[in-house]
Structures are given as C-alpha cells and as structure tokens.
C-alpha cells in the first residue's frame, strides 16, 4: 500500500522562482491495486513517479506499507519500490543476465557479491519473462519488445512490492504495447504487486488499470474508474483534443477515439 500525503515537487526556475510540477497530491493506493496516472505532457505524471522512487526532492510524506520512504536508505527503498524509467538507459554490451542481476543490488551488501540465491532469482525471472534463450545475449542484440521484457525482468528481480512504470509502452508498437501490459497484469496478480503507471494511451490505461488519476498542470482534475474519468468533455478541456468516448457493450471497456475537428475550448 502506498500513501501519499501533500506531496509537492518543484523544479528551480529562473531567478529565485521555482516551477511547481506537482501541487499538493494526496492519494492512497491499496496493495495489489493498479493505478494509472494520465494527463498531457508536463502534467506532473513523471514527477509523481520520480518522487515515489526518490529521484527528486519533494515535500510531503510518502509511506509504503506504513514505512516512510524519506527516512529510508537508498537500498531499503529499492527493496520496496522498483522503477522502470520512460527511456531506460540500456548498455548495449551488457548481457541480459548481468542486466537482470542489477535488480538484486538492494540485497547485496556494499562490498558483497551476488549469492546463489540472487542468481536463482535472476534465472527464475528470466525464465518467467521468456528471456531464457537470450540470457547470455547482449542487450544491444535484442529487439525493442525483448528489451522491454529485460527491463521489466530487472525491476521484477528487485522483488519490491511496489512497481512504478513511467510510460512503459511509449516506444513500442501496438502489439508489443499490449504484450507488455498483459505481462504487467500477469505479474501483478502472481506477485500481488502494487502498480502505479503513467500512460499516454488512454484506452489502454482504462483497459488495464483498476483506477485512473488524471493530472493537469500538477493538479488532480479527476480520479476514479475509467468510465468516470475518461469523458469527451474532460479530455477536450485537459488535452485540447477532439474525441468521442465509447463503451464496449460486451465488457464495458472504455474506448477513446480521436476525431477530426477543433478541440473543445474552455
């Protein structure tokens, strides 16, 4: 469970002014829940995820399973929160196995080296993510979809209860997008992971997550089920886009369809 209370993130601006990227943000994400954070570019999605991951200074408190992250060492935090960056830096000349092994860093003492248990976890994760055939291969030799699986494998090897995904599918084609999100859904149910992901594709966000939080200019403008949050009017105002929102009569999935025309003005 993640509890965020009055979390704000600001970046230094010109002179002494600072730009507020995330206004006071309060939210509670239950264990095993998948919350999708949506909003236009610059809305504060990444800032929110980066604050939870401890990558930017922030005010307010963030607790994971009742433990305040601010008081934790970097290692302790990494054993609770795994983070997949929007554009992960992937060293071409590192093998998949070594890359996934980096996920065990929080469990290895400062001067220690990986134990048999660490290697066992890595081999298991590699197997489960169907990377077994590539384990000894260099990351540079993998396709985009395989790399994404390797990145997820590294995050999974951290065995953290919370998984943060910053637009995990932005570089993938529609097929690989779906495969990656299916994989996250499968892993979530197997591992009881709490997932918070920033997503650009609104239909996918509505389909895969339990709940959506929509941000605009650092402020929460809507939160709730996909049906409640994804309305044509709201999307028009927030994204300046002309869309229709349809609901699948069979499974109730919310589908956002872009239409030609000028966006709705406030």
């Amino acid at each position: 469970m993640i509890e965020l209370h009055d979390v704000t993130v600001s970046y230094p601006g010109v002179g002494k002014r600072s730009n507020l990227a995330l206004a006071p943000f309060t939210e509670r994400v239950e264990s095993g829940e998948w919350v999708g954070v949506i909003g236009p570019n610059g809305a504060g999605k990444s800032s929110l995820l980066r604050a939870i991951a401890g990558l930017v200074d922030h005010n307010g408190t963030i607790d994971v399973d009742g433990q305040p992250l601010a008081a934790m060492s970097t290692r302790a935090r990494a054993s609770l929160v795994a983070y997949v960056a929007q554009e992960p830096i992937i060293p071409d000349d590192m093998s998949v196995r070594d890359y996934v092994l980096l996920g065990r860093t929080p469990y290895i003492s400062y001067f220690g080296s990986p134990t048999g248990d660490d290697r066992w976890v890595v081999a298991d994760v590699i197997d489960r993510l169907r990377l077994g055939d590539f384990a000894g291969r260099m990351l540079g030799a993998l396709s985009g979809g395989e790399r994404q699986r390797a990145v997820l494998a590294r995050a999974l090897a951290q065995q953290a209860p919370v998984l943060l995904l910053d637009e995990p599918t932005s570089a993938l084609d529609i097929g690989h997008q779906q495969q990656a999100l299916e994989l996250v859904a499968e892993l979530r149910s197997q591992e009881q992971l709490t997932v918070v992901s920033a997503l650009h594709d609104l239909t996918l966000a509505g389909t895969y997550t339990d709940r959506l939080v929509m941000l605009d200019q650092g402020v929460v403008v809507a939160a709730g089920s996909a049906k409640d949050v994804l309305t044509a009017e709201r999307l028009g105002v927030v994204y300046h886009v002309c869309v229709t929102v349809e609901e699948d009569p069979d499974d109730g999935a919310v589908i956002v369809v872009p239409r030609r025309g000028f966006p709705v003005q406030e």
Binding site: Y11, G54, Y83, A85, T105, P106, I108, P114
Partner: protein
C-alpha cells in the same frame, strides 16, 4: 569419492537452478582472463628486467631470477656487479612502471565508469594539471636550495597540489549543481574540472613565464619518465596504489550499476553521490601518487580500458582487474624501447606510449568493427 559427491551435488544444483551453472561458467572465464593477464605481466616484468643498454646478457637474467627463488639452483653466470645493475637500476624501474601503468589504467576505467563517459581519463578533475603546477612551484625554489632537504619537494608538491586541485573541483562541482534530482552532479563535476584545469594551467604558465630558465626542467617532468626510478620511489607509491586499486576492485559491482545511469542506479539502491565520491577519491589518490614520481604519462589511462573492453568485454567485474594487469604490462613494455632506442638520451615514455598505443588502438577498433 568426495569429488564424485561434489559433482553430483553440483549437477543437482544445476538442474534445480539453471542460472548457477551459467554463472559458474562465466566466473571460470573471468578467472582464465585474470590468470592469463597476470601471466603476461610476469613475463613482461622478466623481459623488462632482462633488457637494457648495460649489464649481463639478456638470457642470463631469467636464469638468475629463477636461481634466487627458493629450492631452485641454477648457475646463470651473472656477476654481482651485473646483478646490481639488474636489481638496483632495472628492477625498480620495471616495478614502478608496472605500478604507474596499472594505476593510471584502473583509475581511467573507474573515471570512465563513474562519469559514464568514454572520453574521460584519470586527469579529468585536475590531478595532472595540479601535479604539474605543484612540480613547477617546487622547481622554482631551485634544485640547489632543495638538494639538502630531507624530502624531495617536487613529488611532494606535485602530490599535494594534485589532491587539493581535485578537491577544489569536487567542491565547486557539487556546490553549484543545477537541480535537485539524483545524479545531477556528474555533468557539473566535469565542467568544474574544465574550469579548474584551465585555472591551474594558467597559474603554471604564469610562473613559467616569470621563470623561463625552468622551461626545460618542467617540460621534462611533464613528459613523464621512469628513468630515475629507485626502490624508494616504489616504496613511496605502493601504499597508495594498493589502497586505491583494492578500493576500486571492491567497487566493480557499483561501477556496473553506474552503466544504467545515475538515476536508475539510485532506484537500484546505489547511493550515487557517496559511491562516486569514494571511487573518485580512490582513483585520484592513486593517480596523484604515481604522477608525482613518474610525471604526466598520458594516453594509457584513456586507452588501456578501451582496449580491454574491446577484447574481454565491457563488464567492470572483468574490466577493473584486467585494466590494472594490462596497463602494468603495457607501460613496462613501452618503457623498453624508450631506454634502448635513443640510448644514452632517453625517449620520453609518454611519447612511446602514444607511439605504440595509438596505432594499436586504431587497428583494434577497425578489426572489431569489421568482425
């Protein structure tokens, strides 16, 4: 019997755990590389001690070295006077060459890793320009005045000013970092390094311009040399090289984590700023120590780690120990033509390292790209 039980256990372990057998093979490969490189270094040391413009026939030296090992007795025919040349003149030079080459290479590899920048060498944050300035200041006092001093001020000042310069760079680089996010000091440190290096070089140039008679001596020092190496030089640098190298070897796992960038390394549990500081301090102390006795030997801190990467792979688990071993072998080898070719006037070793190393590096880059 015990072997069979162990083998069965290990086979059972492999079935249960496919990852362990692959990683065992991987560690076996590492070991082969280390043993190979260490063997090459031993051969280089023996060859380095065997060749020189004066002294015994070259082939007698390995025999004499064997003779001096316990339980082995060989009549090499080397006289005491000849042995004195080998042991008091050549050997300290060879050992110092090994320590300097190994230290600069391992420091270069670590700097490249911690700044995630392939163009970085151990002189990035001002160790070289600081040492140059320190040596210049010491030389202005005049050899005549300092000859009676109990400590030679040139290496001492070179070392102190090098360390102070890197400290200033670090303080400037971390004080003015732009943002409040993890890992923002990497770039500001490099930029601070550029500024501080320019400043110390300017001060050095100013001093030189006021003391033009020092040009020759300072220039000779800058080019680097192992010609006047003694056992006391070796004793002086050994502790620094040992501590620095052991520290860097212990941080190879962290250096591998740095390969995914500061931010991702932080999310993996690496204390980025603290770990970087430890690595930079270790690499700088070692570099400052070897530079203070051997001058500014360029090129190998940049290139040896790249050669090792191209040949043995880019993982720091292998790269750090191999950089030390190969850098040591390389500088000992590069020192041989330096003392033979233009005997009695020596060719500066920095010239030889670049002369041999640059074409070899280009050849390696080319052949690897084609393959």
């Amino acid at each position: 019997m015990a072997d069979i039980v162990t083998a069965l256990d290990s086979a059972r372990d492999d079935t249960r755990n496919p990852g362990t057998s692959a990683s065992r093979i991987e560690r076996g490969r590492d070991l082969r590389w280390f043993v190979g490189a260490a063997g090459a270094l031993v051969v280089t040391v023996v060859v380095g001690a065997s060749i020189g413009p004066a002294g015994p026939d070259w082939w007698r030296v390995p025999l004499e070295l064997l003779d001096r090992l316990p339980l082995i007795s060989i009549d090499s025919g080397v006289t005491e006077a000849e042995w004195a040349i080998v042991w008091k003149v050549r050997m300290p030079r060879v050992i110092l060459g090994g320590l300097v080459g190994g230290m600069l290479s391992v420091a270069g590899a670590s700097y490249q890793g911690v700044f995630r920048n392939p163009l970085v060498d151990p002189y990035l944050l001002g160790a070289a320009s600081g040492a140059g300035l320190g040596a210049t200041i010491a030389l202005t006092v005049g050899r005549g005045t300092t000859a009676s001093w109990s400590i030679d001020p040139v290496p001492a000042m070179a070392f102190v000013v090098a360390v102070v310069t890197v400290m200033v760079t670090y303080l400037v680089g971390t004080a003015f970092r732009g943002s409040h996010s993890v890992g923002s000091t990497g770039v500001t440190l490099v930029l601070a390094g550029v500024a501080v290096v320019s400043f110390t070089t300017a001060v050095q140039t100013f001093i030189l311009q006021r003391n033009t008679e020092l040009f020759r001596e300072v220039f000779r020092w800058i080019l680097g040399s192992l010609a006047r190496a003694t056992w006391s030089d070796v004793r002086l640098v050994v502790p620094y090289v040992l501590i620095a190298t052991v520290t860097l070897v212990l941080h190879r796992r962290h250096l591998d984590a740095f390969r995914v960038g500061d931010q991702e390394a932080a999310t993996l549990g690496v204390s980025v700023e603290r770990t970087r500081l430890v690595i930079v301090v270790a690499a700088t102390l070692g570099t400052a120590a070897v530079v203070s006795v051997a001058g500014l030997i360029g090129f190998l801190g940049l290139v040896v780690p790249h050669v090792v990467r191209l040949v043995a792979g880019a993982g720091y688990r292998r790269l750090i120990p191999l950089s030390f071993l190969c850098g040591a072998s390389f500088l000992i080898t590069a020192d041989i033509p330096g003392r033979m070719l233009s005997n009695p006037a020596e060719t500066p070793i920095g010239v030889v390292t670049a002369f041999i190393g640059a074409p070899f590096f280009i050849y390696l880059l080319r052949s690897r790209r084609i393959s």
